[in-house]
Amino acid sequence: MTAEYKKPVPRPSMNPEVSAPFWAGTKKHEIWLQYSKGANKFMFPPREVSPGDLTPMEELVWTKVSGKGRIYSYTTIYQPAIAAFAEEAPYVHALIQLDEGVRMVGNIVDMTEDEVRNNSLQINTRVEAVFEDVTPDWTLVKWRRIEE
């Protein structure tokens, strides 16, 4: 943890109250998702209705999930939009399909520069969440490769 974290922390502009349980979860190094009984599925990002069946917010249940999944796709960022990332480029920005069915984006933490530049990361690789306490208020979810 460092006082001078220069990169962007999450800016909840949709509805901070709705996504607060997700970020409270990451601070405990856990992943919590809304579960819609009506649709019988997990949801991400957090919403006020469940997508597809429009189940209302009161009927969505926050539930702790495994934090494991697979790489669904990725791109390697050579030219970040935000200057604070420039010195880290290139790095991998991956789309993870969680075992619970939802997807989220994040970085893969344990790659060597050669692996990044050679695009050696394989789709479907098994990953698990790791948590980075970037400021006293915010903990980001990142991902590392694991055995099957």
Binding site: P8, P10, S13, N15, T75, L95, R103, V105, N107
Partner: protein, 366 residues
């Protein structure tokens, strides 16, 4: 044919007005109003195949993403306080003309001081769930992941995508309206251009530009008296998918998979009847995916298609005959409109040196 009696409202939804909408956002309120209206209509959300939102404050694509509705007709109706009634007119025109069967018109406003204004004034998840992980500019990140997924699922190669960029650059060389006029590139130039984000290379992305486009549309009857050869509109569709690309169920499929079949059905023609195509091309991958979803190329075979087909204006199936946006520059919001103008120009026979011979019928995706 007028709108008289052609369409009807069959369900209504309304939330109580509140001085402060504590705990709630605009899209969340819209979701509740939508659920009430759909229920009142004795329909289910999956029966909704058309979606109209205000548009300026919230993109139909974002509403599609949040509400989980996948419309084959989507539109904004940005008319300030008159957006709702205008939206109902759009919905009526859509159902009257077979663009959709059940159109949801949904508009809302939140007054919740706990919600900070979004960076660009419209709701999206980017600032909360994407920016902290280091996005590339514009839509690069999402399309990079789609590109990689296309390579994985179909074996398409970067070399094959690069051919699209080269053919379009040839098409633009004598285009007076192109920012890249007279600047040829080779396949090697594309392949050796730097990664903006792998697998997308610099010469596979558009250059942001300024510009504008316009057309005049009239009735077929009046068009017969025009001094220009009329460019008849035979069919169309306007589908929307999640604004955030990774919310698509299938990353490599675009909403063209829903809009193009509608357009063909309406027209009485098939993809095999098309003589040329003008297709939205912010990236090679987006154009490739849409050409497939339109049925012009079988799904997953775009790579082989570009290996074996000359798509320049001299070739057997011309695509983006003015260079497209990739090789003419992307004039922002007019980006997709340029493709309409070039299609009309070709049909009118006004394309000059790049005039194609078979110019009776084509497909445009903007």
């Amino acid at each position: 044919m007028t709108l008289r009696g052609a369409a009807a409202i069959i369900g209504i939804g309304e939330l109580p007005t509140q001085r402060t909408t504590t705990g709630r956002s605009m899209i969340g309120l819209m979701g509740d109003a939508a659920r009430i209206a759909i229920h009142d209509a004795h329909l289910r959300p999956k029966d909704i195949d058309g979606l109209v939102t205000e548009g300026g404050s919230i993109y139909p694509g974002f509403a599609s993403e949040y509400l989980g509705i996948r419309p084959k007709f989507a539109s904004g109706s940005s008319m300030m306080g008159a957006s709702g009634p205008t939206g109902v007119l759009l919905a009526a025109m859509a159902v009257q003309n077979g663009l959709a069967n059940n159109v949801l018109v949904v508009i809302g406003t939140a007054r919740n001081p706990a919600i900070p204004p979004a960076a660009d004034g419209r709701p999206s998840y980017r600032g909360e769930f994407e920016d902290p992980y280091g996005m590339s500019a514009g839509a690069n990140t999402g399309y990079g992941m789609i590109y990689k997924r296309h390579m994985e699922e179909y074996g398409t190669t970067e070399e094959q995508f690069a051919k699209m960029a080269v053919n379009q650059r040839f098409n633009t060389l004598e285009n007076e309206n192109s920012v890249f006029k007279g600047q040829p590139i080779t396949h090697e130039d594309v392949m050796s251009s730097r990664y903006v984000n792998y697998p997308i290379k610099l010469l596979e992305t558009v250059m942001p530009c300024g510009g504008a486009a316009a057309v005049v549309v009239t009735t077929a009857e009046r068009a017969n008296a025009s001094l220009n050869k009329p460019v008849y509109i035979l069919g169309g569709g306007a589908a929307a998918d999640p604004l955030t690309g990774w919310h698509r169920d299938k990353l490599t499929e675009s909403p063209v998979a829903r809009s193009a079949p509608l357009a063909f059905e309406m027209s009485g023609y098939t993809p095999r009847d098309m003589q040329f195509a003008q297709f939205y091309d912010c990236y090679t991958i987006l154009e490739a995916m849409c050409l497939e979803d339109a049925g012009l190329v079988p799904k997953g075979e775009i790579g082989n298609f570009f290996d074996s087909t000359d798509t320049t204006y001299k070739g057997e199936f011309p695509i983006n005959t003015d260079g497209g946006q990739l090789s003419s520059g992307q004039p922002g919001l007019a980006g997709g409109f340029r493709h309409v103008v070039e299609a009309a120009r070709q049909i009118m026979g006004k394309a000059g040196v790049r005039q194609i011979e078979k110019n009776d019928i084509g497909l445009v995706n903007g």
